[in-house]
Symmetry: C2
Subunit: 237 residues, 2 copies
């Protein structure tokens, strides 16, 4: 497999950093190809604007999707974006490694999505969800939390972790066609012992060793929706 | 009222920009005080790291919350963060104005939260949710979408908009104590007529005129949770 591991944590020696390194070690040992985007060490710029492009379609009014379509046709993305696009298009398996900050991704990773997941090149004109550009490829979140698992239960104070991750898993990864594997969640690693953290790294290692056997999260397919983009057979509430 | 309007769109002349300007106009006309953070025009840096601080607690290992607590005690946040903290602490009503990008906030706005909502100064040691630092203040999202309302219905292709906004409304705004007003959502303004967009600005104007009468979203209160942070009386599924 061709694997791309995107990493977003300011401290390389964090537990997140250890998870990031573990994935590289496991994939290399298992004969997979490994590419990485270590966003903090790259100094990745997450602010989406005209700097995404070498070209200008409309100098008077900046509409990002218009510029993205134009840059796709003219092969004129900025060098930093083109490099990430090529890694994304190259990989069979994408892993996003990050700490859950404010119940979402750190801004540097959100900006990687905002800037790199470009209209026409990565989605659009009917290419989305199970008809998406990356259909047949796999993606997985690997994240750490501040609080423990109970607080992210359906009845937990912070709310169901799967509901919290839905905008990322469904709204980003599935939107562009990936089969979304269940997230690997390290619960509150800052509040456990070194021994527990080592056990967690072994659990991650085992998960990655068997990643080709993991079943993706099930979502309704496009043909279950009508022309108004609503389910033909509504979910029972 | 003291109002703070935080704006995240690269194009000032966008419909988002018109909504941002409308809020300033309405609040000024109604005798409220108005402050703004126009993040793109400010060149706001959304990457959370040591640049958040003038101080260094631990030079060998960067743990953001440790540095935040230290900077709170030593009054040593970076100037750009301190300025935003003071606006946040000053306001009675916070409005976040943004286009929904990838089912969340643009990175520049996510980074405003990542960097400004600092431990000890803005939350922590029991100060969260209804016991939060900003208890009694109000906050509201004003956002635009790419797709229409049907697609964001409970049975819509993209999923229930309130589920999508939960990590922001509950996980950011409620977390730090705000009463969270129902979001003002402009559905797919790029795909409607000028007349419809003008009507939408009038609808926003009416909403803001009556904002002091709006009832906040209801969430369980802290005393409904047990020591494991789970509801004492589970929600019926």
């Amino acid at each position: 497999m061709k694997t791309l591991n995107v990493f977003a944590h300011p401290e390389k020696n964090s537990f997140n950093g250890a998870l990031f390194q573990t994935a590289q070690d496991v994939f290399s040992a298992n004969g997979h190809e490994v590419k990485v985007s270590d966003l903090y060490r790259m100094g990745f710029n997450p602010v989406s604007d005209r700097a995404n492009f070498q070209s200008v379609k409309d100098p008077a009014y900046f509409k990002q999707q218009v510029e993205e379509v134009y840059a796709t046709v003219n092969d004129s993305f900025a060098d930093d974006i083109e490099a990430e696009l090529q890694k994304l298009e190259w990989c069979d398996l994408l892993i996003l490694q990050f700490p859950l900050w404010w119940f979402s991704m750190p801004a540097i990773l959100k900006g990687w999505v905002d800037r790199v997941f470009a209209a026409e090149r990565v989605y659009g004109r009917g290419k989305w969800y199970d008809s998406g550009v990356f259909a047949g490829k796999k993606a997985m979140l690997s994240l750490t939390t501040g609080s423990g698992a109970d607080s992210y239960d359906v009845d937990g104070l912070h709310g169901d972790i799967h509901r919290i991750l839905y905008p990322i898993n469904h709204g980003i990864l599935r939107f562009v066609g990936f089969d979304v594997l269940p997230p690997f969640i390290s619960w509150s690693p800052a509040h456990v012992s070194d021994e527990d953290r080592r056990a967690e790294l072994l659990r991650y290692r085992s998960t990655l060793d068997a990643i080709e056997e993991l079943s993706p999260i099930t979502y309704p397919s496009l043909d279950e929706y009508d022309g108004r983009l609503k389910l033909k057979v509504p979910v029972v509430k």
